[in-house]
Symmetry: C2
Subunit: 330 residues, 2 copies
Amino acid sequence: MAVTISDVAKLAGVNSSTVSRVINGKASITQETKERVYAAMKELDFHPNSLARSLASGLCGAIGVVVDARDAEAFSNFFFSRSLFAIEQVAQEKGYQVIIANGAQSKGRTIESLMKERKVDGLILPPTTVNPSLMEAIGDFPYVVLGTPDTLRGATCWVDNNNEQGSDLAVHHLQEQGYQHIAYLGGNQKRGFTIRRVRGYKKTITGEELIIPTDGTTENAYSTVLEILEKKDRPDAFVCNDNMAAFGLLKACKKLKIRIPSEVGIVAFDNYPLAEYTDPPLTIVDIDTGMLGDQAAQLLFRRIDKRCGNQQIMLSTNLIVRESSERLAK
Amino acid sequence: MAVTISDVAKLAGVNSSTVSRVINGKASITQETKERVYAAMKELDFHPNSLARSLASGLCGAIGVVVDARDAEAFSNFFFSRSLFAIEQVAQEKGYQVIIANGAQSKGRTIESLMKERKVDGLILPPTTVNPSLMEAIGDFPYVVLGTPDTLRGATCWVDNNNEQGSDLAVHHLQEQGYQHIAYLGGNQKRGFTIRRVRGYKKTITGEELIIPTDGTTENAYSTVLEILEKKDRPDAFVCNDNMAAFGLLKACKKLKIRIPSEVGIVAFDNYPLAEYTDPPLTIVDIDTGMLGDQAAQLLFRRIDKRCGNQQIMLSTNLIVRESSERLAK
DNA sequence: ATTAGTTGTGCAAGCGATTGCATGATATTG
DNA sequence: CAATATCATGCAATCGCTTGCACAACTAAT
């Protein structure tokens, strides 16, 4: 058996509750007693059993991050992994563990189990899981949605990048650079963030609207856009829903020997490491997923500590201007 | 307070130990009793407190995945995230949680805490953390290293892709395609897997050896290889340590108008989603990170169930032949 | 010197399950 | 039909820690 708190107590010549108090830095304990306890802990190589602690204290010291990943692709999505890194960092500072769980196959049962079986003190959820029945089950359990839910926007607690504003930034920039006919390329038009980006595009655009959906792959973007570029009245600029679409577009332009940025300008959402190294480098609406994760985790801990209720945090996006859209000399 | 096992027992008119046995499917319980208990559980919306369970049973129902990530980049590394996806899947089937922890800043303290504070029943570790003192601390606690440790290869438990064999595959293929002067491009020459890949390259190569280290970025690979390609006696083929190096190489060839695969052949390790869409598409030594995670998790659970001791599992790699190395007509 | 207020520590009752042992009720066997 | 084995269930200890309450010792105020 492992070393317990009473072993330490015995060795230090005190009661186990005193040891507990020393561990948790509670109440007033004589410096001398403290030192005796610490010495005993060190001598016995004592590590408190976190399960027993949690059971007694009612706090489990873990938060859950739920993903909605049908395949490895979605999971390795760098959006997710960067947020996760940030979340883990915040949790570590707080002395919390991070539990990840894929909720894709389970229709809310993953979330329920994490919560009701007392495995976590709080949850970070993907927007796709939000629905009225889940929210009812959650009750006042601390959670934060990472992204804007499609329903219950006002009644839930979430952190998101401002996708509308991102499109606005992109379109404005392209207009300033003198592009006239700006199209929106890519994205599953059913997903919330795409809808919001398209909405921002529509709101800001002055000329003719053109929305070109894709299935999310580079290949599909390539073939789809190829046709469009061959037309006479082709757009002279594109806002791309993601880097995949942009890569496809780059390839199509290369194929047709269309020069970038002089003939066609490109701005893309998301900042893949590779976006900097394409030819030419891509102008990007930077979605700072690290910050997103950080903010979500901070907010979650505030809720766990009962220091706030539902909140909606919208982070603004930044434009990183690179060659793909710089038609005007600086 | 939450619903407890004794509430259920009371409602079902049985003892709490009976309820416990029903939950755990233990011993022989009358069908009728079982049904009464199930009904009571449903009526009260009972969820067993996993903390109390773990404390009593001695099993925590979680495994830990330790990462060694200094920055978000390393963390979002798709190698890691794909493995993680697979690990989570295996764990979920077993009813286990997955705890992730970044051990980068803590010099083994993360691992020690996870293990000794009874937070997990087993650990999946990165090869970089392996050293004699850690192994001593671990003792016979179940763990699996994901990758080959640089030290203690024979005395630890790990799962890895066969990097040497991967290089062998690559070089052989290039030789078959008639390339004569094959160079090895990229990689931090201090990292274990790079060393093993280079070893495989050296072993299989017949002509002149040429090893070109890079700092891992596309940019560095580009500038480094540009110089080399301008020389007269440049290599006519490259084995790239990773996709980043290959992207840099592609860019350099394009710049110098060197045709691929007729003038220069390329094979690269790792299978980024993008590798299929480059121009030309890259021939790849496929590192199946999903399988790696799957095998590691399976092995870990075997160890947790005490069904095996240290084991070393080496998965062989596959070559995915695409245009970048196909000089001969098929 | 008496009273009141701190302070440091011990006692013991939880937290919510699991599980070995005991027991009474059935089933099996000669 | 007595004796034995098997089955279904209850009792109570246990897992290792936290924490409210009690209390003695000491300080400060009147």
